[in-house]
Symmetry: D4
Subunit: 248 residues, 8 copies
């Protein structure tokens, strides 16, 4: 701030210019689009598709497309996606991950490490894929280890070395969510745990898995919201990106 | 019932006798002592020591001792035990398990199998020992596998074969309680899971571990109340006893 | 492990063979089918049908059928079952239990004891039947005691002797779930309690019954997840199987 | 109200008198003592002793005594009671029930029926006695059935006839609280259920028993707050009083 | 029991007859119909219609009708009722109360007192009417005081005298459920509080009203399950019936 | 009251007139319409449209319209509104706010201050608009600050001065609801916080936002029920009205 | 901001001065004291005394006193207060309210209206007094209506007119918290509801009262945290202050 | 594994040696000390001091010291620390952080980046310091930003640039926990959120802050258990270490 004030004092910056620097978004009426986000965070804003009509999604999409921004829309079911693809065949739809993307970040420098994405059962796949696709769209390499729940511990242990080689792991699990603790004990890198609402009865839509993960006896495990595959993938990318920074 | 009615009809049973058979307890005023229990369950009644004064415990103890019943008192802390031992040096105090016992069941036929009792961390020891001591007092063989939490999975796997050889496992764990799922996946015998109140924050005094165990992705796991080492050990003995029945 | 290492050292086992022994599943891409499970647990893997399409169920089913594995699919509603039966008329559908089975375990040696399966009200029937059918498919004898809720205690007491004769009881109850405690007090064998989501208002979809059962004042009661008839039946079979072991 | 207005209009009632009829309490500064309560409810106001100092209790007590009102103070522990008895030896202390009373209601007409008060275990005694003593102080006959928990159902059934003869039952139980349902199924009179905070782990200080009772599968069961022996006894007296009304 | 044993001993009762007296229900296969209930409770068994098909309801209905039992079915929605009325035009459908009845208890002696049924808002009507219709079917007189919520306290106070004249009040309220406390303070007879699931947000489907009622600062209030209009009405009838007993 | 009694005594008021003054509502059978409310509160009664049929809404509406009362119906979805507008084209439908209004309060004196209504995200709009439209219908000026969630804090700070100029702020937010605390720290006027059920997973339908707001570290923040835009707007109007009172 | 930038540009403001205006606090190492708060909010910062030692409280107190700021410390128990008063006899201690104050705001212009502070029972007094003393220290007039719980509704109604004359009401209640709804229905000004942790059993330390208040069927009620008398009083002052603004 | 098997096959590894490699801990009877952990994780095992006696802590400490391992004990209160320091003056005690350390990791290579540790209020200091000290002991640079809660947003914004310069932020906050969202929106690196149990009433010992953080509207935020400063600091170090890896 001191810097900007000085430039204004010295006449290097007009008041209008100074204000624009401090106003990092454009007010479009029904939404404030954050154009500074890419500068601040390194990525464009993401659109949460759940609860939005195809029309609303396309409106925001087109606004961002016009400015040349990359577009990523999460939580888009098959029906909505079909409607949108008719008008925008240039868009890619990742079905299991329920993600729509357009030209997201592919020009980014290639990283050398990789993110390990694990899930406990096949019902956890949509959340795991949401994490995986987000990570890939943001330029990270991803290796998938699916259906490695702790009830058959050898399925997991067989991949121990490859998992240990990752820069960060994303562990996706519902029901009792014990996988995060076991992985946390196997690796020496950060683990991002994503509880899912998979289960029934006393799983309470993911609360059981959430509590398990928060209480993990292994160190180096942190947790995002239930079914928040996006959040898990995004956090992993932030960490993976750091791992490559030293080499720049 | 038909049988008893017939005996009464045929005069083989007086009404008083018939009524005694149906009245399986003695009303001592402040408590109804269940003398049929041994016949029905195979074990004497247990006394829950928590919330009882040393005087109350001794009163019940002496009443049972007079009839020749075995005596087992659970949840007796060190101070209470010391007071009781002064007057009743014939009693044995199991300190970690917080159990007082007198001549419990040791004449029982020796079983050939054994119960595996596992716990995740050293803080779970009192609950695990409560289970172990109860099982031993009721005539079962016990093997202990302590401090084998899932954050260091190899500590558990090293004992896999010996655990698999048991007739039944009792898995005691607090925090995230993931151990029950992993054990459930390793063995082909019943697993009794005992959540403990060990942990802090979002462990909610054992609720987290309880939910984990109820939602276990492994089959063959059933659960008792939080910190209920007695219940876990007792249930294991009932199962272990069945395993030996065939040979009689 | 020592054993396998020794065989490798002595050249009795090639490395490939040694690895196969330690890799107890086959990776089919979208799922890891656990072929060692039968060896480890004595039963084939079960398929949880809820949330799977008829196509997905048939795909897994056919894969298992090809290898000669028995097939058991739980939580299959009437509509899904109808679709599957058209293509696979060799499959049996147990309607109330919502289970599909094919050639499950019927060659198994006959046991002499039986499992008692009790339920409190007629609304608990689907869960009770899930337990009963699973137990029968896995080779146990089952006796059903339905609609014996505690509000009419004589309905239960009339069957006391027959229930006491079982090796293990499975008690299925919703609403207040009090049946488990009463049965636990009547019998001297293990009781597996299955809370159901039957009820309304403050039953909280089975939480009330679950808490009742966890807090049972009777010893020898352990609990599985809400509506988990499969889990209750499976645990009972593990116990029932032990009861017969001695005679081998 | 129309009646009072008419009397005022006709001059039969002065405005002051009319206002007094509508102002049923006396404002003593730190408390508003409800002197109309006896007229409205048939009983004097009760004092909740918990959280009050012996001095505060005595101040209210003396104020009521001066007016000739009966005095009943609940939740008074042994230490407080001792302090008060030194200054007021005319007061009676009911130790297990934790109640102080002075001349409460003993001149009342004798009723012919009786209230059955049942409790599940010996730890429930203080709450059961609170209910019993309140009922006796308010002129009802009480019969106690203690330690009749459902884990030994015959202890309860032996008294079935005598319990069925009561005008109303008060059922006091902690842990899983199943006793209320069983009693509700045995009798044809109203049952007032009082959950207690007795238990541990997943009993959650009485929540488990409370939910059990609210979900009772037996009709004719209504519930008061956890540990509210006073409320249970009071409600029973209101009902018992109705039973005798017809004969007046 | 002693009595029956004596009659068997003296030959006055055959064993078959003795057993029938002790077996108070008939086992119809899919349900155990309790024919002793009328003798024990004074009323026939009620059928909970929710979750039952019209066919199932009619099957039970016809079985009871054949024996001359009265029939009352609760929780029957409009569509189900229409289907049943086509085949059984002799049945009466109480639409708001969602109750089907046939010849229920109308020959019963007329009582002189009445039950006051109050509800807070118009959305509570179905639950209030369930209570009211049950009470009328079981022979009680009912007076309705609807839409008298505490936000407009004068609506309630205008009826104070008439409410005070009842033998028992049933107070039905959702949202914050405060009406029970206010009524409890106005009357000197028992109050049965019925929380309803009316409300939104932090009303948590009736939990807020339930807690309010359990914590009522007024004495003489007891509570039944959320939306349990039947339970509230039934309990009120049990109490109302007692009020008339003295005159017999 | 004294006043009215005096007038009755002096014959200035007949008993009928006196009673009408004290009976501030009209009993229409299925509902008690509160005609005194406008006098007491300054506004007509509002109708909660959720769970009411279009017919029921129109019935109440027409009754109020006949008496010349203003009409405001909240929670009316698009379909219901369309049905009503066909018969009552004179009514205005505010679509996002889901409110129907007729001639509400527009003759009211114009206030000089304004209410600031803020919301965190676009999904919170319906609740924010409910607050805004209610406030405008009741005569307040409203300024909207939408999509100013704390994840992009500058969007909020840019409007700080204008927000600070309001008489009262209504802050509408779901998910983590942090906006209320930040606004509470920026302004020196009262803040009414409205949690919304927007979010997923551990947002628990608004509970997370509700708790955040209740625990706000900023002073001057009070909270209404989840999604209660009406309550937030109404409370703000009561406060805004006070702000203008001095000038009358 | 534009304004400040312009002054910097025109040289009217040095950069240092501009930065001070934007940095509204002083960093004292262990705490950041907010000296702009008085300017922004109109009141000095308050100190939350709970969990602070007397030494820490005095340190902050002395720092503020030196700058001439008013000092208000809440949640100070008797023992801490005694220690502080020894060193600072100039401080006033409000015992029931547990507040320490020094020269707070007494020079403030006198307001003409008053705040009504109501509480349901005598146990709610500390929280009610916290609200009352805060309001008085901040220059508002307060009228107290204590012990007016809804179980004796006439105690409240007798004061209806005086309560209606207030600018704002603060309603403090524990147990079932119904008082807020009744008051909300009586008055046409804003009501701030303060739930207290008074109660036992299912009151869950204030949760029951909190839910009641959030679900209030009366409009114009908003809620602060459990036991937050300070928050209730503060919010009331903000509103009361607005009421007087018009006359300036 | 294949590698080890090959070496065994080729005789390069004896069976004993092979087994040691796979047995990464030493069984000391009462605890299994994990000596491989340093190799696997890069850090020695940490000791959780809460619930352990000074004797137990010293026993483990001395065992580790003997092997030359670094020692870090968390959650050690002042009294325990004093006892230990008498015998082990070589140990360092970090009072606010409640950590005991001996020679931990100081020879580690110096990193160039730094971790930002923020806390909302002064009561959050012990948890924040636990995170900070752990991070420093493990070789990271730490910058502290304390008392920057969102109620005075400018206190935070003044440090925005310095916070943005960190590799990772740890945000510690109790009460409503809103700070994590605001920081998450300001920075482009990972944020680890640590909820604390600071607060009262509806903060429910940290649950409110936990939910806020899990529902954060900002991306890049993951959460650890309530009060788990250790977990937050440890996770931050894992990430910070990655940031420096590139330069090796």
């Amino acid at each position: 701030m001191e810097n900007i004030l000085r430039q204004v004092q010295e006449g290097k910056l007009t008041i209008d210019e100074a204000m624009k620097v401090l106003k990092p978004y454009e007010d479009l009426g029904f939404a404030k689009v954050d154009h500074h986000r890419k500068k601040r965070q390194g990525f464009p804003e993401f659109i949460f598709g759940e609860g939005k009509t195809p029309e609303q999604i396309m409106a925001i999409f087109e606004a961002m497309q016009k400015r040349g921004d990359d577009v990523v829309v999460t939580r888009v079911d098959k029906e909505k996606a079909a409607e949108i693809l008719v008008k925008h065949p240039e868009v890619t739809y990742h079905e299991t991950a329920r993600i729509l993307s357009w030209k997201a970040v592919d020009s980014q420098e290639k990283r050398t490490g990789y993110i390990a994405i694990l899930c406990a059962g096949t019902s956890d796949l949509p959340v795991a894929e949401e994490a995986a696709v987000i990570a890939e769209l943001l330029g990270s390499n991803v290796r998938r280890f699916y259906d490695v729940g702790v009830a058959g511990i050898h399925r997991l242990l067989d991949h121990a070395e490859e998992i240990q080689g990752a820069t960060v792991s994303v562990v996706v699990a519902g029901m009792e969510g014990a996988l995060a603790s076991v992985v946390g004990g196997l690796v020496s890198h950060p683990v991002i745990a994503v509880p899912t609402s998979v289960g029934y009865g006393a799983s309470f839509n993911g609360v059981s898995a959430l509590l398990t993960m928060l209480n993990s006896c292994a160190s180096g495990v942190s947790v995002v919201n239930i079914d928040n595959g996006f959040g898990g993938g995004y956090q992993a990318v932030l960490i993976d990106r750091l791992a490559g920074k030293g080499s720049d």
